[in-house]
Structures are given as structure tokens and as C-alpha cells.
């Protein structure tokens, strides 16, 4: 082997760090200081890319793309894979709803905000469990026990949720962080939902409070109030 020069060893070390990441399935973190070795870096990426002769999208990513294709419109911003993954995980555990406190005999229609309420924020997930699996679960909470703006943790089968009273509405939202599937806790002193895994926070409406790295809002969970005032959540 030819003798090694110090600058070549430095370049080799740097290249190895980049390639080790890529070979581990992580992003290529090349920077302008790597431009001198761009041909080698690109070739390394190509070699890494040839490990799979027929790479296929993951099912979760394919579903997300299907949404983009079906709507024909780009999302508000390009959502990173990480955010998309978080959103996908959230969808698995939550669906939407809101219910009038006044005498409900039926359900509020999905995706239609109650009259006089704030319109639903764009792109907030609106889903419900498959018909065969969904069932209304009694939370054991009477509507009169709900204090304005103070969430209560409830469980409806596989769905963990918070229900919160907002004026004449009771709103339900998933208790799962949209970053990673960690269960949120309500911090009354700060009036935020806190993700214990990474410290991310959401306000009482379920909107992300992290301005640097905003996450999707917590998916809404369908809620209704029975004639006798008991709060029910659509779970599994």
C-alpha cells in the first residue's frame, strides 16, 4: 500500500464516519467541508444503496404518500419522515370528535366543528376506529365533574385519551405524543401536556408548543355525553 499522508488519514476518518452512518441506515450528514471528497462520498452512498436490489417503501410511508397523491395538494409544509412517522403512530391510537353538552341524542359528525366553536385547525387528524372494532366506553366521569380547561385522563380500550371541557363542548384527544409513542402527562402548574420521553409539550388544545420543531397536533378522539351526563369515548 502506498504510504499514508496525515491529510489523507483525516479525510479517510471523516469519510468513514459518514459511511458508518449511512450503512447504519441513518441520514447522510455531509457538509460543505466534505466537498473535496464528494465523488467518494456519493459513490459510497451508491454502494450502500445497492445493498437492496429492490428497495420498497415502508407501508407507513406509502400510506402517507397516498394521502398526498389523493388530495393532490401538498401539505402546509414538507413534513419530514420523522414527523410523518410520528403522525402515523398517532393515527393508530386516536380519532376525532367533539360533543355538545346540550342534550345529545346522536353524534356530532366527524370533521364538522360544532356551531359557534372555533373551526377545526387544518390537517388535524380526523379518524375513528374501524366500525367492527369501535365501541363507546363509559369513562366514569360525569360532565359536571369536568372543570373548564382541566384535562382528565381516560382509557377506552386500546385508546388512551384526555377529555377536556371547553365552554359548552367536551373535547377528546389522544394521550400519545405525536413525536414518539410516549404517553403524555398533564402538568397542571404549567398547563401543558408534557412528553416524558423528550420533554416536548402541547397546550390544552393539543397543539404543539415547540416552535423550533413543531409536531402535529394531538389527534382528536371522539367523545359524546349521554343523556344522563356521563362522558363516553369512542375506543376499541
Amino acid at each position: 500500500m502506498r504510504s499514508r499522508r496525515p491529510d489523507e488519514e483525516r479525510a479517510a476518518d471523516r469519510l468513514e464516519r459518514l459511511m458508518a452512518r449511512v450503512l447504519a441506515g441513518r441520514r447522510l450528514k455531509a457538509s460543505p467541508s466534505d466537498a473535496a471528497e464528494r465523488e467518494a462520498i456519493v459513490m459510497g452512498a451508491r454502494l450502500a444503496g445497492s445493498r437492496e436490489s429492490h428497495p420498497r417503501m415502508s407501508p407507513a410511508f406509502r400510506r402517507r404518500l397516498a394521502q398526498i397523491v389523493a388530495s393532490g395538494a401538498p401539505p402546509d409544509r414538507v413534513v419530514s419522515r420523522r414527523l410523518a412517522l410520528a403522525a402515523g403512530l398517532s393515527l393508530a391510537v386516536g380519532t376525532v370528535g367533539g360533543a355538545f353538552l346540550e342534550r345529545l341524542t346522536g353524534l356530532s359528525r366527524l370533521g364538522q366543528p360544532a356551531e359557534g366553536s372555533r373551526p377545526a385547525r387544518p390537517r388535524r387528524e380526523v379518524l375513528e376506529p374501524r366500525a367492527a372494532l369501535g365501541r363507546w366506553a363509559d369513562t366514569g366521569i360525569h360532565v359536571s365533574e369536568l372543570v373548564e380547561g382541566v384535562p382528565r385522563r381516560v382509557v377506552a380500550g386500546a385508546i388512551g385519551a384526555f377529555v377536556v371541557r371547553r365552554g359548552q363542548q367536551v373535547i377528546g384527544m389522544s394521550a400519545m405524543c405525536t413525536h414518539l409513542p410516549c404517553e403524555l402527562v398533564w402538568r397542571a402548574e404549567d398547563r401543558v401536556f408534557l412528553c416524558p420521553c423528550h420533554g416536548l409539550t402541547f397546550d390544552v388544545q393539543g397543539q404543539s408548543l415547540d416552535l423550533r420543531y413543531p409536531l402535529p397536533a394531538l389527534p382528536l378522539v371522539r367523545v359524546r355525553v349521554r343523556d344522563d351526563g356521563r362522558v363516553e369515548v369512542l375506543g376499541t
Partner: protein, 198 residues
Amino acid sequence: MGRSGVWRARRGPDDQMNGRPDGQREPSPSEGEVVRLPEPGDVLDLALEDLELVYAYVFARVGNRADAEDLTQQVAVRAIPRLRAGASPNAIRAYLFATARSVLATFWSARFGLPEEELREDLWVEPREPDAAGPVERVERILDRLPANYRKLLELRFLRGYSLKEVARELGTTVGGVKVMQLRALRAAAKVASDEEP
């Protein structure tokens, strides 16, 4: 909107199936219209299958799923709204791949802090059409033209997933030696690729 919804496509003077997908002129919303295609489900499936090909194309160039998914999504977000209703499948695919090349150029340009034009000149050796041969075959062709020690190192490290230590043991050298040889081997492979894919 679910799968049963319509495919929205803009029609306008700038709506071209060929050419630079990230052109400066963007039709304003007033120029656009919503077009209901006869069989939206088929079109959706068609587009998704094409995006599978785009994903494979991108993955073969960036080598990791995370970047490949981000870039494929960028292609979808950028290209799908501009597709013209009634376009042939070939035209749709050509436009998606043109967009993918543009997105990839931007990706490398941002990584290396170089203008895309410069990358095209000395690095951007992408074929204009989707690979006739698969990425594996193309890489094998490149490896075949390398010296035996370079070829072996790259095969062990990149194709078989050996660690540096394992490669060093296999080649009878040190980890430091493998790193330097890896750099030289990748430079040599890049030179072969640029000679082979003008």
C-alpha cells in the same frame, strides 16, 4: 380526502409534462382548476407505483431510508399538483423522474455547499432515464473494473456489511489502513463510474 376523492391537477400555461419541474413560473390558484379523472382509483395506484420506482431510484443514490423517504416525499409534493389530467403514464413517469433528479441535485448541492451546475459538471453522472440495469448490476460493473483489493474491500464493507475491524482482519491489515484504502477505493470507483456514465 380519502382514496375515493378526486385527483386535483392544475391546468395552465405553465403546466408542462416535460422540462424543468422546478421552473420559476408557478400557475396561480386562479389559473388552476380541479379536474375529475374518470377513474381516480386507477390514477392513484398508478402514481403510487411510479413513486415506488422513484423511491428505489432515490434510495439507490443516497443509500439510506431516511433521506430516501424525505426526498421521495419532496418529489410527490412538488410534482403531483402539476400533473396534467389525462397525461399518459409514460409522461407522468418521466415528469416524476425529472423532478427526482432535480430534488437529488438540490440535496447534494445543499450537502456540499456547491451550485447544482458545478455538481452536474463534475459529479452529476445520472442517466437521463430510469436505470436500464438495476443499481446492483451497475455497481457490480463498476466493482469489476477496480483492482482486486479495492473490490474486495468495498464488497465486504458495503455489500456484506462487515465492520471495519472485520474487514481489517479479512484483508490482514489495520483499521487505519482499511479506512485509507476505503477512501482510495471509493475515489477509484467514482472515477470508473464517471468514465462509464458520461
